[in-house]
C-alpha cells in the first residue's frame, strides 16, 4: 500500500497502521499524537485532491 502511494506521489508517512487493544487508552493517545505529528510535518495534501476540471 505504501509503495502504491509513493508511486502515486503520496508520501508514505501519510498512512499509518497500528494495533491497540481496547484497554490501551494511553497507547491510543500516543499513537494519535505520533500520527498527527507525522502528518503535520508534511505539506497539506493538495496533490491528489479531486478537482472540477
Amino acid at each position: 500500500m505504501g509503495n502504491l502511494l509513493e508511486h502515486m506521489g503520496i508520501e508514505k508517512q501519510r498512512l499509518h497502521f497500528s494495533w491497540i487493544s481496547s484497554a490501551e487508552a494511553t497507547k491510543f493517545v500516543n499513537v494519535a499524537k505520533e500520527v498527527t505529528n507525522a502528518v503535520r510535518a508534511l505539506e497539506p495534501n493538495n496533490k491528489f485532491v479531486k478537482t472540477l476540471d
Binding site: 487508552a25 494511553t26 493517545v29 485532491v49 479531486k50
Partner: protein, 1086 residues
C-alpha cells in the same frame, strides 16, 4: 425572554438574570475575582465592570449584579473598561504582590511598575469565603474592621466553635489566603481533614457528593451524609441548584424494601488486610511503605499520579522497589490468619512487571517470599518469565523489620538470605502484599442468617456442592467462599447462578411480562428524512462544543428534516419525546451525536423500535469520548470536528437500510463429552433445569479420575460421594448416558449441531444445540526416580488406591517419602499441576494419623497449598511430617538396590546432603490433559501449548469457548481439585442455560455480510479467509457453486467484503457505499 446586545451581538436572557450570566451562556468572558455562580453576587472586586449604553448615554455597571433589561447594549471590552480593570489589578497587585493569581493578571494587563506602595498581604477582601460560609448555613467568619484594617476573621479573632471545618472557604479562596493549615490553626477548634477517596485507597481526596469511580455502576453521584454540610446545618444545597435535571432530593430517607425470592446468593467479598497493626513494618509511620492496593492505584493511569510511578514522600521516581509477601496471610504469630490468600504472589509479580513497564528495565524489583504460589493457568510461565526475562529478583526470605534512613525516607531492610547470611538493602518503596480477610460484618451477617463459616470466616461448603451454604436455598460466590482470583470468582458466580436456578426451575418464566411490540413501518424506497439529536450531556459536551451551533448546522445538511439539542438525550423524557418527533415529523432515519455507541447504541435502537422504525436505521456519532473530553482546551476545533462528525454520520445514515435479524432455531439438547466428575455435575445441573442431556463416555463406566481418589482436601470420602453422584445421574430421566462411545464427527453451529457417534461399532447421530467438553486429564507417565524399578516406588494415585482398599501393606511402612513436582514446572512441562501439594500433604496426614511413629518426608520445591488448604500444611508440620525443599537443578536422587530404596536430597537449611531409606516413595506426577485434536477441530476450539483447551477469556470467560454454544469444564481446562471441577461444571451449565433460556428470542445480528450470487465468481476467497467459516459454496439450486453466508456464524467483521474481487459481498450496516459516503462527506471538511 429579554433581548439585548453584548458587544454588538444579539443575545437573550431570562427575566431576573444578571449580565454576567447571559454573557457566560454566549461564551463571552468577563473577568471577575469575587463572583461565584453558586453565590449571590456582591460586586466586591469591580473587575467585572462593563459599559452600559441605555440609548442616550453610557455608564459603568458591574456585570455580576446588574440585571438585564430589554434593549440594553453592553460592551465588555472597551478601552475605558480595560483601563478601569487595569487600575483595579494594579492596586490589588500592590496589596498582594506574591499571589500567583495577581502576578498573572498583572502580566496580562501589562503592568510593569506598580505606582502604589507594595504590601505583603495575600487577601483581596473579595468576601467569597464569607458568602460561602453563609451559604453553608454557618457564618463562622466575616469581614471585620473598617477601612485599611478590614480583614477576614472569626468573631473576636479566636478559634471558633461554630466553624465545622468543612473547608468550603478554602475551596473558593482565589488567592490562597485561606488554607487548611490556617483553618486548623486560626479558624476552627475542630480538625479539618481531606475526605479520603475510598477508591483511591485514601491517596486522594473526594467531595461529599461524588461518583465512587469512573466505571461505577450505576454511574450516579452519591451524597455522603456524614460529611455533607446540608445534613449538618440545613444550608448549602448548591448541588440542587446546579443540577439541571432536579435529580437531587436531600429529604430522601432510607427505606426497607421486601422482595419475595426463592434463592439467595451471597457475594459479600473480602477486605484487604490492614497492616497498620504490624509495628515492625511501620506502615502508618513511613510514607514509602504502602500496600499493594495503594500501589495498584499508583500504577493506574486514572490513579492519583496519573500512572506516573513516584514515591509518596517526595515525588521522586523510585529506583528500587521491594514487595513483602504474606502480609496478613499464613501468619498466626502477628495476626490470626493461618490461611493463604491465594492471589498475592501472582499480583505482586504482576505489579513488579507493570512497574518495570512504566519505569524501564533499570527499575530494580525484588519480591520477598516464603513459597512462590503460582498454581493458576499460565501463572507459572508468567513467574518464570518475570524471573528469567525481566530480571525480577525473587528472594526466599521473610524480612523482620523496616527502618527508615534518616532525612531521605528511604527504607532499610535486613534479612537472612538462603545461605543464612544477613543482608542489608535499601529500597525506595516497600510494598506490603496484603492478604484477603473476611470483615467482621460478614461474619456477623453469616451468623444472623444462620450459615456455617470456617474459623477464618469463609463460608463452609461441601466439595461436591461447592457453592451451596449450610442453609437450603442460600448459595455463595467469590472470596467469601475462600480466597480466590478473578477466574475462580467468575466460575463461582456462574455456578451459584445455576445452583440457585436448579431449585427454581419450575417457577421459571411465571412472572415474565411481555412488552407490547410496535409494528414496524416499512420505509423502503422512501426518501431519507433524517432526525438529528445533539446531546449536551449536561456540560460534558456543551461545555466545550457549541451544541446550539451544531444543531443549527445539522439543519442545513441534506435530507435532515429535523434537528434538536437536548440536555441529556439518553434521559427517559428525551426518549419519549424522540418517539413523538419520529411520528410527528415522519422521520425514517435517526442520528444521535452524543457519547459512544458502544454503551448507548442499544438504548437508542430500542427507542427506534418503540416508534416503529427498524433499529438499524439508527446512526450514532461520538462527540463526547472522542471529542469534547479529549479536546477540552480547543472549543473551536472541537466544534468544527463535531460538525464534521455529524455531517459524516448524516451521510452514512441516508444510506442506512432496514435490516432483519434471522431467528436462530435452538435445539434444546445438550451433549457433554466426558463422564467424569465435571461432565456428570454439568449434566445434573442441566437436567434438573429440564434440559435433555447426553453424556458421551469412551470408557464403559462413569466417574473418570475421581474413581482413583481417596479423600478430598476437606476430608470427604470421594468414593462415597462419587457413587451418589453416579446414582443421581443414572436415575435422572433427562440424562442419557452413552458408554463405550466416541465422537466421529460434528457438523453445524450453535443451536444446530449434528454429532455422529460410534458405540460398539454402531453409528448413531444426535442433534443438539449445545456441547460441553469435559474430557479431563490424567497423571503423566514417568521414568524418573527409578519409577517402575521397584514396586515400592509408586504414584500419588497408586497410594490412594492402597488407601481405598485399606491395603495391609500400609501398616508395614515405617518411613515414607513424597517427591513433588515430578514432571511439573520443568522446561519440558512448565506448568504447575496445582493439586499435588495438597494431595501429598493430605495423604501424609492420613498415614501419620494411622501410624504416628511413621517417618514422613515431603520433598518439595514450593508448597502450594493455596487458600484454606494451607491449614493442612500447618497441621502436617504440627504432627511431625518433615518438609525438605529441593532445587530443580539439584533434584533428589533415588537409587534401588534389591529391595532397598535410598533417597538422597540436599537440605537447604542444614546445607548438607541427607540420605533417607524409605519403605515407600510416592511420586506426585504431573497432570496431563487427554489431548484430543480431533475434538478441537470438530468444535473449532483452540488448544494451548500445554495441550489444555483455551477458554474464551482467561478471567471473564473461564467456562466457555469463543465458539458460540460450546463450553468447557474440568481438568481439560487446567488441573484442578474436585470442588473446583464441580464449580466449573456448574458454571459451564450456567452459561449453557443462559443460551438455552433465550430459545425463543435468539436472533443473529443484522450487521452481517450478504452475498449477491449474481456477482459471485466462485473464486473461494471468502470461504478460505473467514475465521468463522460463515461463507460456503451452495451445493444445489439455481446458484449452485456460488458462495453464500450463514448469518448465524457471521460475526460481521467484513473481512470477506473487502477481499471480494467481484464486489458481490455487502456488509449490512457498514456497507461500502456507507463508508464511501462518510469519506466523501470529508470533502467539505477539508
Amino acid at each position: 425572554m429579554i433581548k439585548f446586545k453584548i458587544n454588538g451581538k444579539k443575545v437573550q436572557g431570562e427575566e431576573g438574570q444578571y449580565v454576567i450570566q447571559v454573557a457566560e451562556k454566549y461564551g463571552i468572558t468577563i473577568p471577575t475575582l469575587c463572583h461565584h455562580k453558586a453565590l449571590e453576587p456582591a460586586g466586591m472586586c469591580r473587575m467585572c465592570t462593563v459599559e452600559l449604553f441605555n440609548g442616550r448615554n453610557t455608564k459603568f455597571v458591574t456585570a455580576c449584579n446588574y440585571p438585564i433589561w430589554e434593549g440594553m447594549e453592553i460592551n465588555t471590552d472597551t478601552e475605558a473598561v480595560h483601563q478601569g480593570r487595569k487600575l483595579i489589578v494594579e492596586m490589588l497587585y500592590a496589596r498582594c504582590p506574591e499571589v500567583p493569581l495577581l502576578k498573572k493578571l498583572a502580566k496580562e494587563y501589562e503592568i510593569e511598575t506598580v505606582r502604589f506602595p507594595k504590601q505583603d498581604d495575600d487577601c483581596i477582601l473579595c468576601g467569597l469565603c464569607v458568602r460561602m460560609c453563609e451559604k453553608m448555613g454557618n457564618s463562622a467568619i466575616s469581614l471585620t474592621g473598617r477601612g485599611v484594617d478590614m480583614k477576614i476573621d472569626t468573631p473576636f479573632g479566636i478559634q471558633s466553635d461554630t466553624c465545622l471545618a468543612c473547608g468550603a472557604c478554602a475551596s473558593v479562596c482565589p488567592t490562597g489566603h485561606i488554607t487548611l493549615e490556617k483553618i486548623k490553626n486560626e479558624i476552627t477548634k475542630k480538625n479539618p481533614f481531606i475526605i479520603p477517596s475510598e477508591y483511591e485507597m485514601g491517596l486522594k481526596g473526594r467531595k461529599p457528593i461524588y461518583v465512587p469511580y469512573a466505571q461505577a455502576v450505576p454511574n450516579n453521584p452519591a451524597i455522603d451524609r456524614d460529611v455533607c454540610m446540608h445534613f449538618k446545618t440545613g444550608g448549602c444545597q448548591i448541588c440542587t441548584e446546579v443540577c439541571q435535571m432536579d435529580a437531587i432530593d436531600h429529604s430522601m430517607e432510607d427505606e426497607i424494601i421486601e422482595i419475595d425470592v426463592g434463592s439467595v446468593i451471597l457475594s459479600p467479598g473480602f477486605k484487604p488486610f490492614d497492616p497498620s497493626k504490624f509495628d515492625n513494618y511501620m506502615y502508618s509511620n513511613y510514607p514509602n511503605v504502602m500496600t499493594t492496593m495503594e500501589f495498584e492505584r499508583i500504577l493506574s493511569a486514572s490513579g492519583p499520579t496519573q500512572g506516573h510511578l513516584t514515591r509518596l514522600s517526595d515525588n521522586k521516581e523510585p529506583k528500587k522497589i521491594a514487595w513483602f509477601q504474606c502480609i496478613g496471610s499464613r501468619d498466626t504469630n502477628k495476626c490470626d490468619n493461618s490461611y493463604c490468600s491465594s492471589v498475592c504472589c501472582m499480583y505482586a509479580i504482576k505489579e513488579a512487571m507493570i512497574a518495570k513497564e512504566h519505569q524501564g528495565d533499570d527499575l530494580d524489583c525484588s519480591i520477598f517470599f516464603m513459597d512462590m504460589r503460582t498454581p493458576g493457568k499460565e501463572f507459572e510461565r508468567y513467574y518464570q518469565n518475570a524471573k528469567e526475562k525481566h530480571g525480577i529478583n525473587f528472594i526466599r526470605s521473610r524480612a523482620h523489620s523496616i527502618t527508615e534512613v534518616p532525612d531521605t525516607n528511604d527504607l532499610e531492610v535486613r534479612y537472612v538470605n538462603e545461605k543464612g547470611v544477613i543482608q542489608t538493602e535499601i529500597f525506595d518503596i516497600i510494598v506490603l502484599s496484603v492478604g484477603i480477610e473476611i470483615p467482621d460484618e460478614t461474619r456477623k451477617f453469616a451468623e444472623k442468617i444462620g450459615i456455617e463459616i470456617t474459623e477464618n470466616g469463609f463460608c463452609k461448603t461441601d466439595s461436591f456442592e461447592p457453592v451451596k451454604t449450610s442453609r437450603d436455598g442460600i448459595y455463595v460466590a467469590g472470596a467469601f467462599n475462600g480466597p480466590k482470583d478473578i477466574p475462580e470468582s467468575v466460575l463461582d458466580a456462574s455456578a451459584a447462578a445455576s445452583a440457585a436456578g436448579d431449585s427454581l426451575s419450575k417457577a421459571r418464566n411465571t412472572l415474565t411480562k411481555i412488552p407490547e411490540s410496535v409494528p414496524e413501518i416499512n420505509v423502503t424506497g422512501e426518501r431519507p428524512r433524517i432526525g438529528v439529536f445533539v446531546c449536551d450531556c449536561g456540560s460534558n459536551i456543551n461545555g466545550v462544543v457549541n451544541c446550539a451551533e451544531i444543531t443549527e448546522y445539522a439543519r442545513t445538511l441534506p435530507f435532515v428534516e429535523f434537528a434538536q439539542e437536548s440536555l441529556y438525550t439518553c434521559s427517559q423524557d428525551t426518549q419519549d419525546k424522540m418517539v413523538e418527533y419520529i411520528k410527528e415529523k415522519n422521520l425514517n432515519r435517526v442520528v444521535v451525536a452524543a457519547c459512544t455507541p458502544k454503551t448507548h447504541e442499544p438504548l437508542f435502537q430500542e427507542t427506534l423500535t418503540n416508534s416503529g422504525l427498524n433499529k438499524y436505521l439508527f446512526e450514532m456519532t461520538n462527540i463526547r469520548n472522542q471529542n469534547s473530553w479529549v479536546h477540552k482546551n480547543n472549543p473551536d476545533l472541537a466544534t468544527e470536528k463535531a460538525k464534521d462528525l455529524v455531517r459524516m454520520a448524516v451521510a452514512k445514515s441516508g444510506l442506512a437500510e432496514p435490516l432483519t435479524e434471522e431467528k436462530i432455531n435452538l435445539n434444546e439438547k445438550v451433549v457433554i463429552i466426558g463422564g467424569g466428575i465435571a461432565g456428570m455435575a454439568a449434566a445434573k445441573s442441566l437436567a434438573s433445569q429440564g434440559y435433555e442431556t447426553h453424556i458421551i463416555e469412551q470408557q464403559n463406566f462413569l466417574g473418570g479420575q475421581a474413581l482413583k481418589l481417596y479423600r478430598t482436601a476437606k476430608g470427604e470420602d470421594v468414593q462415597l460421594k462419587l457413587k451418589q453422584l453416579i446414582n443421581d445421574v443414572s436415575s435422572m430421566d433427562k440424562i442419557k448416558i452413552h458408554l463405550n462411545t466416541t465422537l466421529k464427527s460434528v457438523d453445524g453451529f450453535v443451536g444446530n449441531f449434528k454429532s455422529k457417534l460410534l458405540k460398539q461399532e454402531k453409528d448413531f447421530e444426535i442433534e443438539h444445540g449445545i456441547a460441553i467438553i469435559a474430557t479431563g486429564a490424567k497423571g503423566c507417565e514417568t521414568s524418573e526416580y527409578c519409577f517402575g524399578e521397584n514396586p515400592k516406588i509408586i504414584t500419588s494415585l497408586d497410594l490412594d488406591k492402597m488407601l481405598i482398599k485399606n491395603d495391609p501393606e500400609i501398616n508395614n511402612i515405617n518411613s515414607a517419602v513424597f517427591i513433588q513436582c515430578v514432571g511439573s514446572r520443568e522446561t519440558k512441562r512448565p506448568y504447575c499441576s496445582r493439586v499435588c501439594c495438597t494431595h501429598s500433604i493430605e495423604n501424609a496426614i492420613i498415614l501419620k494419623t494411622k501410624k504416628p511413629e511413621m517417618d514422613i518426608y515431603i520433598l518439595y520445591r514450593d508448597i502450594r497449598t493455596y487458600g484454606e488448604k494451607e491449614l493442612l500444611y500447618k497441621k502436617a508440620r504440627d504432627i511431625g511430617v518433615i518438609f525438605i525443599r529441593y532445587d530443580v537443578n539439584a533434584k533428589p536422587e533415588v537409587t534401588t538396590k534389591g529391595n532397598e530404596i535410598s533417597v538422597k536430597v540436599k537440605d537447604h537449611i542444614l546445607d548438607m546432603l541427607l540420605e533417607i531409606k524409605p519403605d515407600i516413595v510416592t511420586l506426585a506426577t504431573a497432570i496431563v490433559p487427554n489431548k484430543d485434536e480431533k475434538l478441537a477441530n470438530f468444535f473449532k476450539v483452540p488448544i494451548n501449548e500445554d495441550n489444555f483447551f483455551v477458554e474464551k477469556h482467561a478471567k471473564l470467560g473461564p467456562a466457555e469457548f469463543a465458539t458460540d454454544g460450546v463450553f468447557l469444564c474440568g481438568s481439560c481446562h487446567y488441573p484442578k481439585s474436585l470442588d473446583e471441577a464441580v464449580t466449573q461444571a456448574k458454571a459451564s451449565a450456567s452459561r449453557a442455560l443462559t443460551l438455552l433460556s433465550k430459545k425463543d428470542n435468539l436472533y443473529t445480528s443484522g450487521n452481517v455480510a450478504d452475498i449477491n450470487p449474481m456477482y459471485c465468481s466462485s473464486c473461494g476467497i471468502c470461504v478460505s479467509i473467514c475465521p468463522y467459516s460463515a461463507p460456503l459454496f451452495t451445493t444445489e439450486g439455481r446458484f449452485k457453486d456460488k458462495a453464500e453466508i450463514n448469518p448465524i456464524l457471521c460475526k460481521g467483521c467484513g473481512l470477506c467484503v473487502s477481499s471480494c474481487r467481484s464486489g458481490a459481498i455487502h456488509l449490512k450496516g457498514f456497507d461500502t457505499n456507507q463508508i464511501f459516503a462518510q469519506i466523501y462527506a470529508l470533502d467539505k471538511a477539508v
